[in-house]
């Protein structure tokens, strides 16, 4: 029930002051996992920065939903997945695409609508698909990926493999019918699906508290007899742990988990958003506590890596992005005949 409580504020009161990263966890991941997560985060952050700068400068034009601020979540499940695991995501999906290993060149070319893109330029950013990496579906319809993810989980279950499916969606998606039907089916059939609610506290221009009858999305797991957990999505180690538990449960055949990872969208709903509906101070605090920067500092501060090591990772990423941008910009637009192909397996009147 909406009682006027501003959960966003509440959340920031409790979490933005917290600077420790998985500090109290004895079961922190190995150093190579820590660095792998940093690599994914950097890839996302730097890629996002490039998109935004090229958009701002007018070099490119497209509808862009920045995932900036949510990097740790995708990195958190990314390092647990195998290439043959499945991922489903949404229009705000760049971070998930990269965490699942969609190649930068194909991705950039698709964002720019080029023939060399993941989808030959026909899908666009909202529909990035790259089965070779296990990135199976990107949907623009809120909540719709959830029931589809069950299909991948079901396929794995019927195949008798231990593949899992991670499906990503927002806090806003937790109020749509597909969420309910999907989680119930997954629970009843014990499907190997991890439901990752990337709770960035807003659905488009509406704060979660104004639209949601419950304080934590994870509480809804109980409505399906499914474990539900809320994790600080800005803490890479905590997120890694929660995702690892959920993935392990799914792989073991013990069924689905609802993981709510709390985070923040630094740049509003989409590029050009005036963000007049967001609290300025709240946003300032969130950006100040930038989880990628915090993690970087933590890695160095705790002796997991040197500044030089991390800088090198970043440099490699930047070079790869440079290459991808050039590749994409120099790629041709799809041939006009492509309008009519891929509607059906064969041309159909």
């Amino acid at each position: 029930m909406f009682d006027g409580t501003d959960f966003a504020a509440l959340w920031y009161e409790t979490s933005m002051t917290q600077t420790s990263i998985g500090g109290d966890r004895p079961d922190a991941p190995d150093r190579d996992v820590l660095l792998a997560m940093f690599e994914i985060q950097s890839r996302i952050k730097l890629c996002d920065e490039r998109f935004r700068s090229m958009l701002t400068s007018g070099q490119i034009q497209l509808i862009y939903y920045s995932p900036r601020g949510q990097e740790c979540i995708s990195a958190g499940w990314g390092v647990h997945l195998r290439p043959d695991d499945y991922v489903v995501t949404i229009y705000r999906g760049l971070h998930d695409h990269l965490a699942k290993g969609v190649p930068l060149r194909d991705l950039w070319a698709e964002f720019l609508g080029r023939a060399t893109g993941t989808c030959k330029g026909k899908g666009g950013p909202m529909h990035i698909t790259h089965p070779a990496s296990g990135l199976m579906v990107t949907t623009g319809i809120v909540g719709a990926g959830i029931p589809i993810a069950n299909g991948f989980g079901l396929a794995a279950q019927m195949d008798g493999t231990d593949q899992v499916c991670v499906v990503n969606f927002g806090d806003g998606a937790a109020n749509i019918g597909a969420f309910h039907e999907g989680l119930n089916m997954a629970a009843v059939w014990k499907l190997p699906v991890i439901f990752v609610c990337q709770n960035n506290l807003y659905g488009e221009h509406t704060p979660m508290a104004m639209s949601t009858g419950v304080e934590y999305i994870s509480e809804r797991g109980a409505a399906y007899g499914m474990p539900g957990v809320t994790v600080d999505g800005n803490d890479p180690v905590a997120t890694w742990k929660a995702m690892g538990d959920a993935v392990a449960r799914a792989r073991a055949g013990d069924g689905p988990t609802l993981v709510e990872a709390r985070t923040y969208r630094f740049y509003g709903h989409l590029m050009g958003d005036a963000m007049e509906y967001m609290d300025k101070e709240e946003r300032r605090l969130a950006m100040e506590a930038d989880p990628v920067v915090a993690y970087r500092n933590w890695l160095i501060g705790n002796g997991h890596a040197s500044e030089a090591q991390l800088a090198e990772i970043e440099e490699v990423v930047v070079a790869a992005i440079d290459d991808a941008v050039e590749f994409a910009m120099n790629s041709p637009f799809p041939d006009e005949s492509e309008l009519y192909t891929d509607v059906y397996a064969q041309a159909t009147s």
Partner: protein
Amino acid sequence: MSTETEHPVLPMASAINQALDVAMGLDPKVFLLGEDIAEPSGGVYKVTKGLSTKYGTNRVRKTAISEQAIIGAAVGAAIAGYRPVAEIMMMDFLAVCLDQVTNHAAKIRYMSGGQTPVPMVIRTSAGAGRGFGAQHSELLESWFVHTPGLKVVMPSTPADAKGLLLTAIFDDDPVLFIEQMMMYWDVKKYGGPVPPGDVRIPFGVADIKRAGTDVTIISYGRQVHECLRSAETLAVDGIECEVVDLRTLVPLDEAAVFASVTKTKRAVVVHEGVTRCGFGAELSSRIHEELFGELAAPVQRVGGANTPVPYASNLEADFIPQQSDIEAAVRRVTA
């Protein structure tokens, strides 16, 4: 025109059951999901009778009343290499899961640039005439023909149902397979010989259910039978109708339609769904566009009334196109 009268005469439900059985036997990737489809009841219309016993509840999966979850699971599994056959109990209920059908099943191949085909079938039963009222009686094929990416099939005989369903299951595109409840178990009116085994009928091939020279009546599904009966009546008056059963609306056998109408110069299009923006409009337009100069009369549409389906038996009967409506239309184009 089926002439294989040596085969056992079956109701359409049994023919559909056979197709599912054959497909599941052929390919372990074929599985079924939907409400109440498993034993002991074998579906509310008993169309899936026996299949869960034969193939197990892993491959004949009973679900909650969650149509979005049903279609979503089929979409995902199809992309992952399965050939799901999802059942949506009645066609009107497609409205509760339309997003999964039209925004996902239909578009995903295109949106991925061809990387992720969605080889799935949605079976659904439809049609008025049983006193089920406005929310359990509709034929909505037009919505789906308007949705690029979907194929749309609507058989009129048990043999066609079997052959087309087998083709649908092994087709690499999402197929909406529309069955009509009125035909499921009424062997007397709608039964027919069904060849055994893996007999497939290709998509996009209309079937001339009756040859004629004067007027082409184009239809599909249950209305084909009304057309055939009308043709008999009209033949008494010397009007020889050719009855073209489209069988698949997407793909459409334009060639067969145009060939017949080129011969007869007159066409009547018949379907049960609401007339306004119904499939008849598409067909009528195409015939006029193609054969304008050759037509002796404008193509006539005979379709359901432009109303919801009423409950009272007399009103419901009036909603559905009657033989008298078909005959009147034929007489209009031959006048």
